[in-house]
Symmetry: C3
Subunit: 363 residues, 3 copies
């Protein structure tokens, strides 16, 4: 393609791209994000950066979580380097004490009122296996909005969880997850099968929901065929991706053995919660939970599926890193991207994220 064509594409793209979130769009803050795993929250102080803010967090004596801005309001010492006394954080620099709401309750040996001292506290709620935090307007932090998924509490399901840190924007991670057409290429060696890209794609865009589904008749990849005992059998694989919120993306796999008689039971299913928390505009916490409703007692099945699924995740993360490098290097006057039909769900997500981010800034 010639340089003049590039210039034309660029001009056309830049008009449409104004309405799409990308790595430079301010992070959506009015959202419940996973701060950490339940198992990681304890009686010692820890810090993690969410949406550009360092957050110190701990489990209170009553077992509930607490999360504060991790910067003493006196001389900016990181509070996670201090200590915990009951539910009180003691700053390690000058001994200022903050309760779990971020109110200063003591300034040792200083003759002055402490009422004007304090650090911002963030609404934080546990829905095991994750701790959820709200970085935006506290008045809007409705616990009903926490995107907790039912199967995580269902005894007929079993769940394995894990974590990666991603060198890439949460926008691009969502875009990757709403796009099933890359399975046959990027994941050819793991859980993609060649039939995937060819299968028709059903994109559902409704008020609060973006979903993408595909149904494929194929021999299942090993990651699922082995634990189901279906190696070599012809199967139907229905795969769905659903954007639940900027913090959660759910993938569903529903399997049917076409070489065996149908049974009245629930079909075997795998649900993967992709739990996405922006660190900053270019880095992302990526928790995942992998749940299934079959062989729930069998730990070797858990290990087999987790190993298979996470090797595909690593392919995604490497891809996002590569894309981020290309974006970073691009000459601003030559950059453009062209969409394909299966991008429709991702584009709708990016339009919404842009709209939400703009609305937060305007507020």
């Amino acid at each position: 393609m010639k340089a003049e064509e590039i210039t034309k594409r660029r001009a056309k793209w830049s008009v449409a791209a104004q309405h799409l979130a990308d790595a430079d769009t301010p992070i959506i803050r009015n959202c419940w994000y996973a701060l950490c795993r339940s198992a990681d929250l304890g009686r010692t102080l820890a810090a993690r950066t969410v949406a550009g803010v360092s957050v110190v967090h701990f489990r209170k004596e009553d077992g509930t979580p607490a999360a504060l801005h991790n910067r003493c309001c006196h001389r900016s010492y990181p509070l996670d380097r201090g200590s915990l006394d009951g539910d009180t954080i003691v700053c390690g620099y000058h001994g200022l004490r903050y309760n779990a709401c971020g109110q200063c309750v003591d300034i040792p040996h200083q003759d002055m009122p402490k009422t004007k001292f304090g650090v911002r506290d963030y609404p934080v709620i546990e829905r095991a296996p994750f701790i959820w935090i709200w970085m935006g307007d506290a008045d809007k932090a409705d616990p009903g909005l926490i995107p907790h998924q039912y199967w995580l509490d269902d005894p007929d399901w079993t769940t394995d969880i894990g974590y990666f840190e991603v060198r890439g924007s949460y926008v691009h991670l969502h875009e990757n997850l709403l796009d099933l057409s890359h399975l046959s290429y990027l994941h050819a060696a793991t859980f993609g099968t060649p039939e995937y890209a060819a299968a028709p794609c059903d994109i559902v865009i409704e008020n609060d929901n973006i979903e993408v589904w595909r149904s494929v008749e194929c021999v299942l990849p090993d990651v699922y065929a082995k634990p189901l005992g279906w190696v070599g059998a012809k199967a139907r694989r229905k795969s769905g991706s659903q954007l639940v919120s900027p913090a959660l993306h759910v993938n569903t796999g529903i399997f049917e053995n076409l070489d065996a008689p149908r049974t009245p039971n629930d079909p075997p299913m795998v649900k993967v919660a992709q739990v996405i928390t922006p660190i900053d505009n270019r880095n992302t916490h990526y928790h995942y939970s992998i749940s299934r409703n079959f062989a729930v007692e069998d730990e070797t099945v858990t290990q087999h599926i987790t190993a298979g699924v996470t090797s595909a995740f690593k392919e995604d993360l490497a891809a996002l890193e590569g894309v981020a490098e290309m974006h970073a290097q691009e000459r601003p006057d030559e950059f453009f991207e062209i969409d394909i039909p299966t991008d429709r769900a991702g584009l709708e997500m990016r339009r919404r994220f842009k709209r939400w981010a703009d609305a937060e800034i305007a507020a």
Copy 2:
């Protein structure tokens, strides 16, 4: 604390903060700073960055120091990579020669006048154990302003010196040193004792002087109790911090054994010169000298005290690094700090530094 409160604090703080130096304030240049230790200045070229300028320095044949801008005025080669011929620096790239005043004395085999060639020279004076340099207006470089301390030459005292490189601004290092209230917290494990924070603080702010003093009755920490032979004894510890210049901060400790009869002798004292040289706005050379007027012949006492004092210094340096990270990460529209009464000396220092820096820019 809620977001709206943060916004109010921020607004209030930003008015006051305009008059305070911080890491972004231009570095004060009209000041004698320690360039290096006497022992480090020799007959080979060395370079060090002071106030953002790379400086090449060496000891002349007559033993006195010389310091020049470390960049050949021809093609910007670092002069410290060249060689020394008598008191002449020979550039390693094209052989240009500079005398110790930075005048070009030879451009080999080039048919042109050399008078317009030269590199900036900086006033530089030795007051052992340090070499002092003036990065500002040479006309103001009065040697009488060198903050040399008497006890460094006094045979009744002995001194140990050392060096750290600090990831933090010289402003914040001075602020740390003018603040004795952190001893009980940050230095709880080293030379702080719990009584410290509780003791009344005497802040002296005069024309040319900022001093902070505290007097505490306590069992001395091991770092001093052991060499004095006062382990377990009740003692009075008077501690003072004095800001001498942007380049020097002096800490004094005066000890009295309250379990022993008073003597007519001078009390045992420790003087620590904190010799502070900004590398650039966010990094600092930190030389220190630790002097005492007791057990001056005993090298094991020197080792014991230096080990104790420098482990506390390392706590300070780690704190400054943590504070710098918090400052770097902070969202500009949410940053604020609130002062406590014992900050008064530090705030006065920051007001002065801001005023001096502004005056240098206006000049």
Copy 3:
């Protein structure tokens, strides 16, 4: 030199410097640059950054080279992570296929025209031992402009080639190469001899050509004396540097043994092609070829000369890195450089590069 003098120099310099290329000048794109060595181009995808653009390249089935912008126009995946199918690149993310001209020839299973998809292709031609690429206006990519040198094809000559990556601007690398006066200083330990700096310098500046020559009577340095069998003999060494294009600089050495009778044969010569490709404004690919017309069959002579010449190159690269550090650190209001007569060729090069870069931007 005093601060006021610095300010005057700075003012004077900044007027002249407007017309000289430096590390900040946009890179000249209308030029054939070496992309890689012939031997490095194969049937697998590789990527390299040239003039700020990541370029994916491979050898086509017919043996000729192909080079495309290394970013899929769909979702910016690096194409070099995909695979090669015949002469078609298959993107590793969603399977888009591009022919060797960058035209999209397939978007798997997507119901849309592919005509508007494509990535920029770059003119690319092999002249062994190098592959040459044109990053600018394709209409101007006249193969006749490729700065291929005759002796690389001449059976009476033998050539050794190699590569370094340079932390420095291609402008400063050219400046270094047009300047023979540094040989006696920077290369005193390798191939400089003291007579060099003293010898008169003949600078030829013509329409399309910049050349610098020196003729020195000396004992040759070991790097040449040993393979010629002239150790200790008096010799005439004529050395020339020629700027061929922003991508090539040729050094020539012609040797005559003054202690031996003249022969009618061609004199022994060494030709070094300094093949210079900007990675970006501050980093440079540096290929070199070292050719000679004597002892052409003798591999130990090749090793001896390459070892000697490349140790001098390493001195140059270290110098360029030092200069880049000094430039990076310099306070913008104090920076200046002063020229000497032997800089005339380099200054003319920098004027031309600036003019060419400006013209490309205006176009």
